[in-house]
Symmetry: C2
Subunit: 365 residues, 2 copies
């Protein structure tokens, strides 16, 4: 168990979480400010490892559901967070021993830290997918038998809904519809599980991974080293992971819309050296497929991240705009995500693409 | 308290309920068969009057929510009904003393009778609007201070959702979204209330009114009298009500679609005597406005009913089709619905029309 006392750590973790968020998960800026404010008040978020969890601990996943375009405009109130914990404990009829992110990525990694700061409940250094995803059943929790519901959703004007769905896929349909009716953003407490279940199904150490990624970028930026070289070096040294620079260019078009509770779109980039060299990234909250001149070079569940080409600041989908100079990185997914049972839920076919998964290293050649 | 032992009564009540359903509420055919089947098994629905209710009785409103186009295709299972009652009692934490229809109209008047037959819980001879309406907050319950939620919604594949909304308008948004995600039909237990509240807020004796209307039509049809003369005679004799034949013609167009959980459309009729004499009825689940040659002749909350011109069988919106010979009747709403506080929720402006309510008698001249 450790407490986070450094605001720098929060900013680093948020930066790394945007990279792992692969365009989605929401901008963690506002959430990060909220946590830093708590730290300044002496309320420090607490982190525990999966192994520190008692097998019979009651662990609950807390997540914002909705469109990142709305998350970025929505301030979190301490009251709403406290009410969410209170309603969740009374709904599940027991004390919450630990919180766990349903996904790592932007706002949804910072959100449990904010709850931890105000409540003292520790956050498990792990999550349910090791990246961000657009649907709530797209998690290793669900893949390894933990039910997404019963769960509770609320907004900050006092609507509270509980869901007990026939399947996790149906839970996604219901939660998405409810979220849309709540104005395209809801706060949820889902995936009730025991410590033993979390140990078996969660992707490990992903908050620490976010922190390290954020630090590597900041340190390289402050120092004299090439930021992208440092970042790719760090990512390639992770066990079982590979990272590649996929493209270096300028954004020449962002076509997007908020529809059905998601943020949909395509961003198009052009090489500064060769105007015919076109790179596109398709997104549904998260970046799901990258194509160079029409040819797929990275696909889900591998991670696609678009970063500012000077500062290597990872960008969320809704931050993208015409004229930005960017680099695109492809990072292979956590090994848990490329098992056959995971690819059924998280692979390209689950996103409507008519192809089997090809890992980034083989896909881009 | 009385029991319904006659299948004829069920058929009569269903027929009358379609008239009061003003095109909506769903076809009661399947629900009626279900209740008759129960009666044949010796399980009789029980009716009680509002005055028989104890002031501290726990009364719950049971309704199907969704598009009538889906209701008509959906069979009710005894299991689903029993599960709804069971989940409702465990959610509200008390025994249900009586059921009350949220609205009279088609399937939603038969539905509580089906629950009564299988459970023995009596149905109150009253409802929350005296007709059918497309939104769940459009009730005298809501107008007179009874909250629509907390409530529970379920479907027959095992999804269960509870809603505690910040307002009844928001409850409608949430329940409609949930219903759409459930496949455009859900079963709900909403408007928890005491007997004292029901006595103050409900529209009285509307199940009996349905029964009488259904009987008048059947008797006149069997006898030698003119069915429409008999029906209009009966309706005009009701205290505070007026009924008119608005049109006699042939359906020449039905434009409709199921969207957002509702059945939307316009039906166009033509006079057989004068092809330029055109009558249209606009609907959103229920018929909300009737126009003769463009001029409004009846509007919500007054009731518009389209009936087969030979048998005087009242027709639901989804039964209408090209070539049908029909008559249209306008019936003034229950006096509770035309009070200023009711018109705010049930008047033409609540349906997006840019005019104040004009009662049918004055409107059609």
């Amino acid at each position: 168990m450790r407490t986070i006392k450094s605001e720098q750590d929060i900013h680093d973790m948020a930066r790394g979480a945007v990279l792992l968020g692969t365009g989605g998960g929401g901008d963690p800026y506002v959430g990060g400010l909220f946590v830093c404010e708590q730290i300044r008040k002496g309320r420090h978020p607490r982190l525990c490892s999966l192994d520190e969890l008692a097998d019979d601990a009651f662990v609950l996943s807390i997540a914002g559901i909705g469109s990142p375009t709305v998350i970025v405009e929505q301030l979190i109130s301490e009251q709403t967070l406290a009410r969410l914990l209170g309603r969740a404990e009374s709904f599940f009829g027991c004390r919450i021993d630990a919180l766990i992110s349903a996904e790592i990525g932007g706002a949804n990694s910072v959100f449990p830290l904010a709850l931890s700061a105000i409540s003292g409940i520790p956050v498990v250094d792990a999550d349910g997918v090791g990246r961000a995803v657009p649907q709530l059943e797209m998690t290793t929790f669900s893949i390894y038998g933990i039910r997404a519901t019963p769960g509770i959703l609320m907004d900050d004007i006092g609507n509270v809904v509980t869901v007990d769905a026939a399947s996790d896929r149906k839970a996604e349909d219901l939660c998405r519809a409810i979220t849309t009716a709540m104005g395209s953003l809801s706060f949820s407490a889902i995936y009730p599980m025991t410590g033993a279940q979390a140990k078996q199904a969660a992707v490990r150490d992903t908050l620490d991974l976010s922190l390290q990624i954020g630090r590597v970028i900041r340190n390289a930026r402050d120092g004299s080293s090439d930021v992208f070289a440092a970042l790719l070096g760090y990512l390639n040294a992770l066990p079982g992971r590979e990272a590649y620079e996929l493209f270096d260019g300028k954004i020449i078009d962002v076509a997007h819309e908020t529809r059905g509770g998601w943020h949909w779109g395509v961003v198009t980039m052009q090489s500064p050296h060769s105007p015919d060299d076109i790179f596109t990234v398709q997104f549904r909250n998260e970046f799901i497929a990258a194509r160079r001149n029409g040819k797929l070079v990275t696909m889900v569940p591998d991670l696609i991240t678009i970063l500012d080409r000077e500062s290597a600041e990872p960008l969320t989908g809704e931050m993208l705009s015409y004229g930005q100079r960017v680099k695109v990185i492809g990072l292979s997914a956590d090994p848990m995500l490329v098992r056959p049972e995971s690819l059924e839920v998280l692979g390209p076919r689950a996103f409507g693409m008519d192809c089997d998964y090809i890992p980034v290293g083989r896909c881009m050649v």
